[in-house]
């Protein structure tokens, strides 16, 4: 605008600064408004987490006081010791770890191969298969619990299947989790794979690899960011899942950590302090996993963005 000013007639030149101030003021208001909204969203999302962590450090009477205590002062670690020493804590942490490791590993291997088939080969029924995957993702999980429970409990009575299937078995829960983690993983991964030009594998094959070698040496490193993103999803889903674990696992020694958390609420009410401490501890692995892996994501994304 300023470059036009010398050419403009006087009245415009006089009016222009006024308009500019108005524009600037408008911009300022807009910026403040946007920031306020962002802060509000931030508060809504972060406050529950903060309250959980803060409560975990508060002594019992502060927690139940009618006057809210915004900060845990004086702070105490007794809730954490309580939680850790509660029955089955370490057992259930171990159970959760087993479930998560199995779900993530299995789903990544199977999803990689399935996505490979979907993105690299033309076969009869390919389109229908893709629709089926999406369809499975659209079904609400809760609606399937009862049929799944019945199926699982019957499968557990079949000789030859009952070493892995059946209720009150971690392996059964792992299989259940795969039913919703796998379709999502396959879907996401095949999207990543489509972004990798087929010629790269062809070049590798001409260069001397087998077809599978080309997938492993060329395609796999290029879709690594996709694998990482998908594995984060699988990790979070498997670690945080409650309903299936609650319904399928009855023994305290066989439950996962989320079900263990629910045990703080019983007929006598809720033991808030240790519950919050336990919840904080439960959230930690997810945060740690994400922090560890997120640098790989940003590195991976730049590597994947390159199209030769």
């Amino acid at each position: 605008m300023s470059s036009l000013t010398p050419l403009a007639p006087t009245p415009v030149a006089v009016r222009a600064p006024a308009r500019r101030i108005r524009v600037r003021r408008g911009k300022l208001v807009r910026r403040i408004g946007l920031n306020a909204v962002a802060l509000l969203v931030f508060a809504v999302m972060v406050f529950p987490v903060y309250w959980m962590v803060a409560t975990a450090f508060k002594p019992g009477r502060d927690i139940l006081d009618y006057k809210p205590h915004w900060f845990p002062a004086p702070a105490t670690l007794s809730n954490f010791t309580n939680a850790i020493h509660r029955q089955y804590f370490w057992t259930d942490v171990k159970n959760s770890a087993i479930v998560v490791v199995c779900v993530v590993t299995l789903s990544m291997v199977v999803a990689f191969l399935a996505a490979l088939a979907l993105s690299r080969f033309r076969f009869y029924g390919r389109g229908a298969f893709i629709v089926l995957i999406l369809g499975v993702l659209m079904l609400p999980l809760v609606a399937l619990i009862i049929p799944m429970y019945i199926t699982m409990s019957r499968a557990g009575q079949i000789h030859g299947l009952n070493w892995v299937l059946g209720v009150n078995k971690l392996s059964g829960v792992i299989v259940m989790y795969m039913t919703f983690v796998l379709p999502f993983s396959v879907w996401t991964l095949q999207g990543f794979m489509r972004g990798v030009p087929r010629e790269l594998e062809e070049a590798a094959m001409v260069d001397g690899t087998t077809r599978f070698g080309a997938f492993v040496r060329i395609l796999l490193p290029l879709v690594a960011p996709g694998l990482v993103a998908t594995s984060i999803f699988a990790f979070i889903q498997a670690w945080n899942e409650y309903i299936i674990a609650y319904v399928f696992l009855q023994d305290g020694s066989k439950q996962t950590i989320t079900v263990w958390l629910a045990s703080f609420t019983n007929l006598h009410g809720t033991d808030w302090g240790p519950l919050m401490a336990g919840a904080t501890l439960t959230a930690l692995p997810v945060v740690v996993f994400f922090v560890l892996i997120q640098r790989r994501i940003s590195f991976g994304l730049t590597a994947g963005a390159v199209k030769a």
Binding site: P197, E199, L200, E202, A203, A204, M205, V206, D207, G208, T209, T210, R211, G213, I218, P221, L222, A303, G304, A305, V306, K307, A308
Partner: protein
């Protein structure tokens, strides 16, 4: 190094599309053959069949004395340069170059020696630690070439390697590839849709259309003696002028007539094409290259074609005149290369055709002027209107011998 030989090769896709139809072609040891044709003509499919990236429906492909039909790409000992280079984006230039050697278990010290030598030849020494994303288009192209050369394969296969470069770089890389091929004398099969590339690079050029090989010959012979209307219209830039003419006997000689245009054929010209006699009283296609038309001719007997200039393009060394003449343009899209035919301006009048003429750079012709073009009768081409094939010149072999 080894020869590549296609014998009755057929490629049929699921759904019945015939991509390559009975291809017979030999690329001799050390020879540079260019497969050229409009897009979708099957040239890339043919190349990919040699590489093993496409299955062969029928026929036989040999590299050297081995039938490779059922061999995996890695067992064929060929190297390929892809249109989009297909460099491994997560590997450095060095790793890209060495990948093929590692896969073939070449000793480590030998790997390093060969990669460094290639990098020196291609001027990539400074870039060995970079990733493809940090290279310019020309540099990527060089890495792609290097990756092929370093393997020291039996043959090079190149799939439009220059089409992603800008015009100037393309000319430069064209010369570079031709130079490398001459130095290494590696059998090369090169695919392009650009006939200029084909003409400038290949020892021999194979023209394909709709999966069918039209003609294989040296670039010059392809230009001078096109075997059919398609090759005639495809090869050469600007494209050949094609008219629909009637051949008549007048006095003792033959005359080609089309609208108001009359071209008398001298007895010796007619005698060189004995088959022309059979076409007397029928229509045929007459081809005149733009450089066979001139403004003034030293030969006073040269037939003249009168027309009106529509457009004159000054190209520096020469001028390209689009001249509207009262004649019938050839209207047989099924026999010619359609994209080349579109290079000619649409005539303004109803029963007229436009001819392209290469005139002197200092021509005085301006749009709107009436021009008398002299046609060089020794450089006329005649084609059968039904089959599109050229009416042959007696005593000239149909194709050149393999180099």
């Amino acid at each position: 190094m080894a020869a590549i030989r296609f014998t009755h090769v057929i490629k049929e896709y699921a759904g019945g599309t015939l991509a390559v139809d009975d291809l017979n072609l030999e690329v001799a040891e050390g020879e540079f053959v260019v497969l050229v044709g409009p897009s979708g003509c099957g040239k890339t499919t043919a190349l990919r069949m040699v590489a093993g990236l496409e299955e062969i429906t029928d026929g036989e492909i040999r590299i050297g004395d081995r039938v490779v039909n059922d061999l995996a790409p890695r067992d064929r000992d060929i190297a390929m340069v892809f249109q989009n280079y297909a460099l491994y984006p997560h590997k450095t230039v060095y790793e890209n170059l060495v990948f093929g050697l590692r896969m073939r278990k070449v000793p480590k010290s030998e790997q390093r020696r060969r990669v460094e030598e290639i990098a020196r030849i291609l001027g990539l020494e400074e870039m060995l630690e970079r990733r493809p994303a940090q290279l310019s288009g020309g540099q990527r192209q060089r890495v792609a070439m290097g990756r092929a050369i370093v393997r020291e394969p039996q043959a090079f296969l190149m799939d439009e390697p220059l089409s992603n470069l800008d015009a100037k770089l393309r000319v430069q890389m064209r010369a570079e590839i031709a130079r490398i091929q001459q130095t290494l004398r590696v059998t090369t099969l090169y695919v392009t849709h650009d006939q200029v590339e084909a003409m400038t690079m290949g020892h021999r050029v194979a023209v394909m259309r709709s999966g069918v090989l039209q003609q294989v010959d040296t670039p010059q012979r392809l230009y001078d003696l096109p075997g059919n209307l398609f090759v005639a219209s495809f090869v050469g830039s600007p494209a050949m002028n094609l008219l629909d003419v009637a051949l008549e006997r007048e006095g003792g000689g033959l005359v080609c007539r089309s609208g108001g245009v009359e071209i008398e054929l001298p007895v010796d010209i007619a005698a060189r094409r004995p088959q022309l006699e059979q076409y007397v009283g029928r229509r045929l296609a007459l081809g005149i290259r733009p450089e066979a038309l001139s403004e003034s001719s030293t030969d006073p007997d040269a037939p003249r074609i009168r027309g009106r200039a529509l457009l004159v393009e000054a190209l520096g060394a020469e001028s390209l005149a689009h001249v509207e003449v009262n004649a019938m343009a050839l209207d047989r899209p099924e026999l010619v290369d359609v994209s080349a035919a579109q290079a000619h301006l649409l005539p303004v009048g109803d029963r007229t055709a436009t001819l392209l003429a290469r005139l002197e750079h200092d021509t005085g012709v301006k749009p709107g002027h009436v021009v008398d073009l002299a046609a060089d009768v020794r450089r006329l081409h005649f084609f059968d209107l039904d089959t599109g094939s050229a009416i042959p010149v007696a005593g000239v072999p149909v194709t050149a011998a393999v180099v």
